[in-house]
Symmetry: C2
Subunit: 216 residues, 2 copies
């Protein structure tokens, strides 16, 4: 699978390390400046022995089937104006959190994911991974025998399946979360996770999940 | 603890059975008509051997410290106009779901719980239990060793603590979910639970929870 990761921050780095370590994945990283991607690739190779390419955002998107947008929600409109995402599977993992972390900036009748889909009608937008702290990646996706869930929503069944497969191969428990409009509920879930992790004292080694009763 | 349950539907009945079975709780039920509460009390006594009182909504509220509103969100404004809730701890477990179940009717910059608090400034509103299916109560709150979480949000620390204690004694894992404005995220969580249970094929023996990594 050819995967581009746009964004070299905590989450972009964590996903790059995770996905580049999986056989069969070709990962290219791109950051805000021309050197960000190259620096991240060099650092991850030195730290973890994984092989990544780097390039400009346009080049990274061009050579990939799945593009993971690991930049703040506010930065996406600018990238959308200058890069062609037509035909790409575009994974949005943003939580549109206010600058003071007191709430979210979009919701209820729309979502960050739907706004991105409206900006990029030629892409197949997939909401995923927005409920996973960067610190969780650092210690791995196995919580004492339970895989961390990846909730995956999209209006494209094929794109949703592709991202669920990518997630499963990376060690997540992939959960079909239905149409992209369910990002209206997944993004509040991501924010509630931030509330528990940072404001309510649970720390960042947590993740939302659904528990189920086993058949009697 | 003196507890009033307003509403005799699936959730009201399930909570009445659960809470009346716990030593030290006095539970009074009230329904839309004068006879609904009496019928529920008689049925639960016959089925489960629990003892409940019944009465009008006004009487039930008057004699209780904690009032659980187990009626549809749309019915609450009418009750608020005719009953005095001043000084009561008022538990709202509604999910303000559209009639066609395609989404929620309030959210983002407010929530059902906050709207109820605005209607009843003399009450201490607590959001709780809105992520628990009626069918879960029927089979008990233990999911193979994990207690079903009860997320509890309120602007009153004392009211939140009281409801968390009530929840713990009933067998829930009570989770402090912070201020009442977090109902903006708990209500989408309740709706996402409905999506997984009914639209996405997981069935109703599920509940949202947070998993955590045990300390190494």
């Amino acid at each position: 699978m050819n995967i581009a990761i746009i964004g070299t921050g905590n989450i972009g780095s964590a996903l790059a390390r995770l996905l580049a370590g999986i056989k069969g994945n070709n990962v290219v990283v791109a950051g805000k400046s021309a050197t960000d991607g190259a620096e991240l690739a060099a650092r991850l190779h030195a730290d973890s022995g994984v092989n990544l390419e780097s390039g400009s955002i346009s080049r990274a998107v061009e050579q990939s089937d799945v593009v993971i947008l690991a930049v703040p929600y506010g930065a996406i409109a600018g990238i959308a104006r200058s890069v062609n995402f037509d035909g790409k599977i575009l994974v949005d993992l943003s939580n549109p959190v206010k600058e003071d972390f007191s709430g979210i900036t979009v919701g209820f009748s729309t979502s960050a994911a739907e706004e991105i889909q409206a900006l990029l009608p030629g892409a197949r937008v997939v909401k995923a991974f927005n409920t996973v702290f960067a610190q969780v990646y650092e210690q791995g996706l196995d919580f004492d025998g339970s895989a961390v869930p990846a909730f995956v929503a999209s209006d494209s069944d094929a794109a949703r399946s592709t991202v669920m497969e990518l997630a499963a191969r990376a060690g997540f428990d992939p959960v079909d979360a239905g149409p992209l409009s369910n990002a209206r509920y997944l993004e509040p879930l991501g924010y509630l996770n931030i509330q528990f992790g940072y404001m309510l004292g649970h720390g960042t080694q947590i993740a939302p999940a659904w528990i189920r009763r086993k058949a009697a």
